[in-house]
Symmetry: C5
Subunit: 334 residues, 5 copies
């Protein structure tokens, strides 16, 4: 029953199959979906990647999806949410990826339509496909047989698992930053890094925080198409999200303190510099003043005629400097 | 049935028409409204722009609106809200516009009276009329036939859509600001810009945030005159508003951090200046001191009589300066 | 039935009258109140200003008010609140007034006892009497005929309307402050003004914020003696209060940012000063050093014997200064 | 029935009596309590001060108190709370006292056990005994006859009334601080005082804030042993606590602003110092430079041979200084 | 019935016993557990320490535990929580330990499975075993006879009791820090300590705060296997946690203020330094200038020929310095 996808726009269809009792029973072309949905003992799982509008229209037609949800799925730029359309659950997730060079966060979106016997995913911008999720699901038929509700869990788990290494990476960066700050090296860059880490955390938070409510609804309320025995799995996802949220908030507060500590350290350094500079300046200014005095051209300056006047003046200068040095050393200015 | 509007105060009436099954069936003068309202199969949509009190009184009389709501609509300066008067829903929205020269935010107000078979809009200060909304509604009769509740949605969607480009513009400005701050150019202006952006965000927030509750009531509770099947549309508006709110809050926090980072960077720059200044000052002060010593007038100063005393002293000065330069370079003060 | 008030303590009684169907039917002495209350078709409105304890005791006796409420009304220094005593509603409002010379906020208190057919106001410290409220009420008998519940609204509206000009005045002051801050004139005074504005806002907030709950109870719940058709009026007061609250909070946040921006600007100014000072210091120090060199007394200093050695040295000094000037100008230090 | 207390550990028993109809009918020894409790028409009021464990055990035995509550009462260091043990209400209050030399806050604890016909207080660390409360209660038998629930109110009122002068004292200190800060005298001490005031406010808040919930339960819910007609009294206490809380929070925010304003003022002062120092430095450096020039030893320096060269040079120096002085004065640096 | 544990993986089994009526009746090997569970009159208490996966699998098999809970217990890195699996309560606690050299916080985890007649603990990273808890429980059979619900309380109490000394230690450190800050000694280290204390408090908070909800559920709702009469014990734990939470939050706010006060003090110190430096610089610069003037080589300088010109100049210099000294002293610059 596997057929080549001959529709022109099918490039955006990643995979489409029917499952019965957790077993993949058929690969489907888009126009075969409606037929497959008519059978009560199986469900259809369709994966799309940045589909054109006409593909989405076909999909909408096949599954009978709501206009507004399709619009959202086409436009992307939605916040994570769960919405209920008469007979379908519509979930929006944001995927996150930490790009290395230059280091920055990239966000994508995954839109999921969940019906009684179907699940449609529309992926935008995300770099990692859901092929892995599908393979893992297909390898555990006893779980997949729970239906599309379980697939929704598998997808959410997959997306949420991508957040963890990012948050851990940021935690590590904050820890590294502490060393930079308290060793007072490279302080200029430290400020910029604090700012950018905070910006990243704010962006991550907007990705993670709305999922608390999404999971709450999935594990607590009577949503359609979520079998009773998969709710416990969503509680697991919920747990991860709450932990991520807590970590993000703690890191944000820590960064604020780090910035303040940084300012405080620099203010302290400035005081130290000022003291040291002053001490050295005094040690130059005093001999200069003495030299100035004996540079005066008064006719009657007895010291000038002393045999060792010059040497005496040098000794006075050096003594003054040593005295100042010791004094400053004692009072902690040097 | 189309007649010229011959009332003296009608300058503030933008458009007034009756709709039946989503089709515009009659243009109405203010004194014809009551007659049109008597017919059960149609609804009246009246648009006013900064009406005089006497026009508002006429309108109040025709539609039977409540005193307090009319007062609000006349005075403007209301916060966004939704109120229920026995038989009518009264909604206040704030419109926003980003003026370019000089760059500043302008706010207007739109007051909407929604009854069983009528909708009245009173626009204040807003630059963009609702003509576009009316045209779009009239071009989709199957949606307009849902009644005045759908028109309310169309108006809210129109107003909320105006916020997005403003918020995006501010986001872009914040991003531009980062470059200014971290390149340490034009830092004085940066502070003023941060302040003004924060002020704008606070003003926007007061415009956007109360709409969360307005939408909540429109999509969740049993308000009169809001047909069941339009609630889903208000959920869409709700979603936009929540996203705007989140963006506004994130940008506010980011600006606070930016200001602190700015301060930190300037404190750092000050330390750097201080170090560099000190280094150069030392390199001038040391030769000056040496020169002072040999400017003394002691009779017995052996060095003065040396054949190359002068040259030696110059070499000592230069050596001291080079030594200081290398020392300062090494310890990062230059 | 109008009689002279012959009680010794009646100096604190501002006005006391019975109303029937919204019309003033009798002026009452304190000891006539009980008689008037016995009649079912009228209500009594008594206005007191900083009454002595004995007057209050008489009033308590006449109206049958609760001990604790009377104690509150005597002591003043209550926070705004609404309390229910078996058969009476007790409301505390704080009045605010912006004194001009020296500019500061003054607060007073108004305590209101509302019963089935009476309303007692006890005014403390407030400069503006409620005579205007009474006159306005008496001039609209159709509204006054709603009973003492309507009078409560009129009083609250009167008190809340006094907040608006104060808040607007503070808003204007904050705006003026921005100019002072960003033009960097009079910066010392700016800090003090920010502080005092913040203190005023905190005081105002404690006056306004508790009214949210008071209004909430008046407009939502089934309080006795508040007729159904006056609740809509309290909603109007509620709206004003929420707006005031939002403005106060926004101004508070703005002032915080203003203080930080102020600090940032001053830090920036310090950097600029430091650069400019350094540049000019260098331009004085370099010629001084050169002069020092040629002030040395070495026997063998060839330049000293040059015909134009002195002029050359002057040219070198000026050239060094011009060079430094140009260099500093280019790098933005001047 | 009055007997000497002959138990060894009775030193910690402050007073113990039975009351009937609001009248003190008997002084009791600890081992007589059980007997007194058996009579239905009276209640027992026992006051303890830092009792030994064995006394507490006896008391527990006499009244039949719960193990955990007794443990709490012995250990102290509890947060203010209200707990329900089957047949008894257990209340923990913290007492506060402002010690003068050195100025610091002292906290004590009062634990109260309230049963159907008894009330036990255990006082720790508090300096002021409850004798006054007992005397006041005994002097108003009509109130005391309401039973132990009224005594609980009297005790709470007594404890809460101690907070007010402390908070007012802190308010006054904050006000005094403003003068210190804005007059820029003694600024170093100001910082320490701000910090210590904030610490005190935080400690007070932990003492006061939990009482909101305690009062809430006492005035709203159906707790045993709190007669219906005493709930109104707890509302009065509630009111005081909310006001204290609001004052504490406002002062905290004010102190934060004061600290920031302080920093801003000092940054401003620094700029002013810097300007003034620079101006005076320039006025010394310029003549020094000129003097340096004419201290050079070039053979051919025409000015040196002028009859009034020296006087001219002095005039030039003074003129330069005056010029600088005027210039700095004009640009506000002096 | 005590047998040697001969299973290879049993190294991670700390203790395993059956209890009947609060008395230890048998030591069990893992494979004997199922048999013991079949008896209704006893419960099994198994303690594990960082078990291998195969041991956990055996335990899961013996007790019939849920997959997800076992996974959590194996992976650790959970946040404190309470979860319900059909027939079992799953509790995660975090243990905390303050290591001394170098001073830092160490966190461990304890996972607890509570069933009708069993309790399993899985300890990770925690340094202190639960042996003490078991011994204390076994020594109070009347409490232990309440069943595994009581053991859960004993474990929570044990874990929570470990937090208190840590929080107290941090409180002490904050207090010590105050002295360091206000004496302005070692200020650089103070900043780092503030930062690290704040980081520790944030970490502790994430350990303690989630327990509020855990305790709430244990003491309020109808969880299985928690006997009615042990709920009162969980209220005690709840109380400790709320107090810890309050202390942590207060210390956090105090540290923020400390950091700001620190910055303020340093800014003040900088101003003081600047004044003092300037004063001393002036006292050196003025004689230098005077000396410069009399070092000029003008032919006609009358003072040079005065008999006591030199001495006069010295007197002038000293007089100028003394004058400056007195002036600076008076205006508080010295």
């Amino acid at each position: 029953m596997i057929e080549p996808l001959d529709l022109p726009s099918s490039a955006s269809v990643v995979d489409c199959a029917a499952y019965c009792g957790g077993i993949r029973v058929a690969d489907l072309a888009i126009d075969q979906i409606r037929g497959a949905l008519a059978r009560d003992d199986q469900f259809v799982w369709l994966g799309l990647y940045e589909p054109e509008q006409d593909v989405l229209r076909q999909v909408q037609h096949q599954f009978g999806l709501h206009d507004l949800a399709i619009e959202d799925a086409y436009n992307a730029h939605q916040r994570p949410k769960l919405e209920l359309y008469e007979d379908a659950v519509f979930v929006v997730l944001r995927t996150a990826h930490l790009a290395v060079a230059p280091r920055h966060l990239e966000f994508g979106e995954t839109h999921i339509f969940l019906g009684r016997n179907y699940l449609v995913t529309v992926r935008h911008g995300s770099l990692r496909s859901h092929i892995g999720v599908r393979q893992r699901c297909e390898s555990t038929p006893h779980l997949l047989s729970k239906g599309p509700g379980y697939v929704l869990y598998a997808l959410m788990d997959f997306v949420v698992d991508q957040y963890l290494p990012i948050v851990q990476h940021i935690e590590q960066e904050v820890e590294d930053l502490e060393d930079v700050i308290f060793s007072m090296t490279d302080t200029d860059e430290a400020t910029a890094r604090i700012y950018h880490l905070k910006r990243d955390l704010l962006a991550l938070r907007r990705t993670v925080a709305p999922l608390v409510e999404v999971c709450n609804r999935l594990m607590r309320f009577d949503l359609p198409h979520i079998p009773e025995d998969t709710r416990i799995y969503f509680r697991d996802v919920y747990d991860h999200i709450v932990r991520l949220n807590e970590t993000i908030d703690a890191q944000r507060e820590l960064l604020t303190t780090a910035l303040e500590a940084h300012l405080s350290l620099m203010s302290h350094a400035q005081n130290e510099h000022m003291k040291r500079i002053t001490a050295w300046a005094a040690m130059i200014a005093v001999p200069t003043m003495i030299a100035g005095v004996y540079g005066m051209n008064f006719r009657n300056m007895p010291e000038l005629n002393w045999a060792y006047g010059y040497h005496t003046s040098l000794v006075v200068m050096v003594t003054a400097c040593v005295g100042l040095y010791v004094g400053f050393k004692r009072s902690g200015w040097l």
